[in-house]
């Protein structure tokens, strides 16, 4: 228990630092803004109680918000992702269900499963984030394109990171 709290704290700090120091500085004509810190919410245990997940999501988003200077923006996107995560997990659950105490990982459930899972959550997160940021529906398609391009980058990074994690 204590062990896993420490482990998740380390993952949290590493992801936040990566996001702030590396990914926030990717300036690719304004179209590609990957937000990889969402991986933290992906990795939380399968059986975590929904209310705890929501609160953790909220504070994860708020942390990012404080450093970027956009109060509430990331928090609202992460809370939505956290809320929908149990439904996504149920939707794509393997035939014999999840093992007790399992964490969503590529090692246990395979590459395909993890890809679909990541894709769902990242898309939910990026959609709500980008549309809330622009806060208008003019240029709908352009925002849509930004969502898709950024999602591709975020998903790619998360898959690579997960692959690396498995290798250790």
């Amino acid at each position: 228990m204590i062990n896993s709290i420490i482990r998740y704290t380390i993952i949290f700090i590493v992801l936040i630092l990566l996001q702030l120091l590396l990914f926030n500085n990717i300036q690719f004509s304004g179209f590609i803004n990957p937000y990889v810190y969402i991986m933290f919410i992906l990795l939380l245990p399968v059986e975590i109680s929904p209310w705890l997940l929501l609160i953790i999501s909220f504070f994860t988003g708020l942390t990012i918000d404080f450093f970027i200077g956009t109060p509430g923006l990331h928090a609202s996107a992460t809370v939505l992702s956290g809320f929908l995560r149990p439904y996504v997990l149920r939707l794509i659950s393997p035939r014999d269900g999840y093992d007790p105490g399992a964490t969503p990982s590529m090692e246990i459930y395979g590459f395909r499963w993890f890809l679909i899972y990541t894709l769902f959550i990242v898309l939910i997160h990026h959609f709500s984030l980008f549309y809330l940021e622009v806060f208008r529906f003019t240029d709908f398609l352009r925002t849509f394109l930004r969502v898709l391009l950024s999602s591709v980058f975020s998903v790619t990074f998360i898959l690579l990171a997960e692959y690396y994690r498995r290798g250790r």
Binding site: Q27, D65, G72, V79, F83, D139
Partner: protein, 273 residues
């Protein structure tokens, strides 16, 4: 009562979700307005320490380029000064006379935090109220217009970058004096959009675009950029793409310009509305 408790127990996650989402949306709607956000200002003081360190390193690496730019600017200013001294007639007050003649005050500042990749970009300057910087002052780089101060604390201030969907500025074509409204469409950090120039006006690629000074924020005639291309949009107006003179990715040192007569102008204008 029992039903109510059952209801709460059954939907507790949904309720927590709605509560947290509500808080977040509330923060977005009220807190993103930079002028009203006190919390943000306090938190920024924390993160600004780190940003300052990063900015210091970056400035050091760009020192050579900055030097060339500053010396170039010096030459320009000296030339201008010479011209002014010669043309000055004894009938007028001297330009340095701060009480009667001077309308604009200049000060320089360094950028400690900047972004170009968001839809609503802001940058932070290392000077604030203590150094005389206040809301609604203009910010220019050596090359052209950069932004407007929207919030200032004791030692720092935040400026809305020209690269912000909410940024509007009254500008005109230097060649024929027609004025329109400049905004950014969120696409490319190198280009902005100029609207409201009627279609009977003759414009060419490469025409200079400058500020008008109608808003009493920017002085007249500050360079914005040149016309890159234009098309006839719906209505009777052109949609003109402006290649910005300022390179926002290299912004390091800026000038902040305060208008000493702004309050006076606004007061007079207000009395007629």
């Amino acid at each position: 009562m029992k039903n109510l408790l059952n209801f709460l127990a059954r939907y507790n996650n949904l309720i927590i979700f709605l509560l947290l989402e509500g808080i977040a949306i509330f923060l977005v709607v009220t807190g993103n307005d930079y002028q009203n956000s006190r919390v943000l200002k306090n938190v920024r003081v924390l993160s600004i320490g780190i940003e300052k360190k990063i900015s210091n390193t970056r400035t050091y690496l760009n020192l050579h380029e900055i030097n060339t730019k500053i010396s170039q600017e010096n030459v320009d200013l000296r030339n201008k000064l010479d011209r002014l001294i010669k043309s000055e007639s004894p009938l007028f007050f001297s330009v340095a006379d701060t009480i009667h003649q001077q309308q604009y005050v200049y000060t320089s500042a360094e950028i400690v935090n900047n972004s170009t990749n968001r839809q609503k970009n802001f940058f932070t300057l290392n000077k604030g109220i203590k150094q005389g910087i206040d809301v609604d002052m203009a910010v220019t780089s050596g090359e052209g217009v950069a932004g407007i101060i929207v919030s200032s604390s004791e030692n720092f201030s935040v400026a809305m970058s020209l690269l912000n969907l909410d940024f509007r500025l009254s500008v005109r074509m230097k060649s024929n004096g027609f004025f329109g409204s400049l905004s950014w469409d969120g696409r490319d950090y190198k280009y902005a959009i100029l609207n409201e120039i009627p279609q009977h006006v003759i414009i060419n690629e490469g025409d200079t675009v400058e500020t008008t000074g109608y808003s009493a924020i920017f002085p007249q005639g500050k360079l914005i950029g040149v016309v890159s291309d234009f098309e006839k949009a719906g209505g009777d107006f052109y949609k003109i793409r402006i290649l910005l003179a300022t390179d926002f990715k290299k912004l390091n040192y800026v000038n902040v310009i305060g208008n000493l007569r702004r309050t006076e102008q606004k007061l007079v204008e207000k009395s007629y509305q």
